[in-house]
């Protein structure tokens, strides 16, 4: 990508000839609007996963068997067409791709965006940059969280219980430590904020927004954020409060 340095001459940019663009993923990725669309799609994929994930997590409240069974079920899904664990791996692959695409796009776009405003205003207004800043920091927090979360509950590397195949025990063990519980709570708040702007933003980015839908989409974004945050938070909070042990 050529980044034109801003000069004040009457330099005319070369006009791209109409219809010269092959409609490819590469050209989509090259343009800021396309990259943003990739981000929105990957974000929505993650979002869909999270809704399911949250519902799955709520099984914690119906006892160890239920959720452990659920973990097992996840791995047998698709059988006999898929082997044991394949579905999970497929899902992991999609998720990994989504996280990578999302994170890379976020990083590249953010760098571009910061460069596009090299001189700050002397008179700063906070409101103007609120959403952008929370999205960037929120995203970073979520990224770090995902790493921690996988080490904690998937690879069990940092998990105090680390009983393979027994997520219930692992979850309870994890949230019984104050730092881990804290990390989860913080991450869930970040998630809420991220989704609150992100869901509406994705609709806008993908061109699904229009004046009639705008309000509805914002409401939906708020609802979804609230739902996810509350749903996810309920588990660590319940564990820390001793309701689930």
């Amino acid at each position: 990508m050529v980044m034109a340095s801003a000069t004040r001459t009457n330099r005319t940019t070369r006009t791209p000839a109409p219809g010269r663009h092959p409609s490819s993923l590469a050209s989509l990725w090259r343009s800021s609007v396309g990259k943003k669309a990739v981000m929105a799609v990957s974000g929505l994929v993650m979002l869909a996963y999270l809704v399911a994930h949250m519902l799955g997590n709520l099984k914690v409240f119906s006892g160890p068997d239920d959720i452990n069974g659920y973990a097992h079920w996840l791995r047998t899904l698709g059988q006999p067409f898929l082997h044991y664990g394949w579905f999970l791996w497929l899902a992991r692959l999609v998720l990994l791709a989504a996280v990578l695409a999302h994170g890379t796009a976020a990083y590249q776009l953010s760098r571009r965006d910061l460069k596009a405003r090299p001189v700050k205003y002397v008179h700063q207004r906070q409101r103007a940059t609120y959403a952008t800043r929370t999205m960037r920091w929120g995203g970073v927090i979520l990224g770090l969280f995902i790493v921690w979360h996988i080490l904690d509950l998937t690879t069990l590397t940092v998990n105090p219980a680390a009983e393979e195949g027994h997520p219930y025990q692992n979850i309870v063990a994890s949230f019984s430590t104050w730092y881990s519980g804290g990390i989860y709570c913080l991450a869930m708040l970040a998630l809420g904020l991220h989704v609150r702007h992100g869901f509406w933003s994705a609709a806008q980015t993908l061109g699904a927004n229009n004046p009639r839908r705008d309000r509805g989409l914002k409401l939906a974004a708020n609802g979804l954020a609230l739902l996810l945050t509350a749903g996810f938070l309920s588990v660590p909070v319940a564990v820390m409060a001793g309701l689930v042990r």
Binding site: T13, P16, S32, K36, K115, R117, K120, T205
Partner: protein
């Protein structure tokens, strides 16, 4: 009323600038913001100092020439252009910060004046209908549904002032570009070039060094012509569709 102004003074694109403090008195509340600056400039000239440079022309809110960031807000506290902002929106004794549009794609020319020619180049890359003079069919040959005509008009109102870029934390020209893309793409006249228009304009926008849109919405809040934020959604749709 009496005011303290802190104004960004900068000789040229290469020289550093700084906020400089001035006091003005006897400002009438019926004055426009630019007339208030005229008053200051008259005094500066008589003192033998260089007057504050700023762009302006129509002073009616339509040419898009004027524009400064007043107390951190593009075009100031009212939803209008700087030339149509009146001093009745300020109070006696106020201190007012005045800065130029800030964006990498808008280098400062002098003081409050910036170079917005990048916006012209975005238009040149696709913001038109190819209709060479003399080739036009009878105007009534293609009726345009009123709804489409109204939507086109709503977006055609953009005056190219650049406040959206100035207000956007990413220095993005999405709202400006969206305004033109939507104006032309919803009309039957603009249909044949629909796909190439949006792609080329977005490509030029990127190449000029504008930031991307993170859907912050500040642009639409600052826009004196009320170009709706949903215009950006439409631009995105047009882009993805192409």
């Amino acid at each position: 009323m009496n005011l303290t102004l802190r104004i960004w003074r900068q000789q040229g694109p290469e020289t550093p600038g700084e906020m400089t403090e001035y006091r003005v008195s006897g400002i009438s509340e019926d004055m426009s913001f630019l007339e208030m600056l005229d008053t200051l400039n008259e005094e500066l000239i008589l003192r033998g100092e260089r007057p504050v440079a700023f762009d302006h022309d129509c002073r009616e809110g339509i040419c898009g020439a004027c524009g400064m960031v007043i107390n951190g807000q593009a075009h100031g506290p009212e939803r209008t252009t700087t030339c149509q902002l009146h001093m009745r929106h300020f109070d006696d004794g106020d201190t007012i910060d005045v800065e130029p549009w800030r964006a990498g794609a808008f280098p400062v020319v002098r003081d409050l004046m910036v170079d917005r020619s990048a916006l012209d180049r975005i238009i040149g890359s696709g913001g038109y209908v190819t209709a060479p003079t003399g080739s036009a069919p009878e105007a009534h040959a293609t009726p345009v549904p009123k709804e489409a005509a109204d939507l086109a008009f709503e977006h055609a109102e953009c005056i190219g002032c650049g406040a959206c870029v100035a207000a956007c934390p990413n220095g993005s020209a999405m709202l400006f570009t969206a305004a033109k893309v939507v104006h032309l793409n919803v009309l039957p006249q603009g249909a044949p070039e629909r796909a190439s228009r949006v792609r080329n304009m977005v490509e030029t926008m990127d190449a000029e060094g504008f930031g991307g849109c993170t859907n912050t919405g500040e642009c639409a809040t600052a826009c004196p012509k009320g170009i709706p934020l949903t215009g950006i959604a439409r631009l995105n749709r047009e882009f993805l569709r192409s």
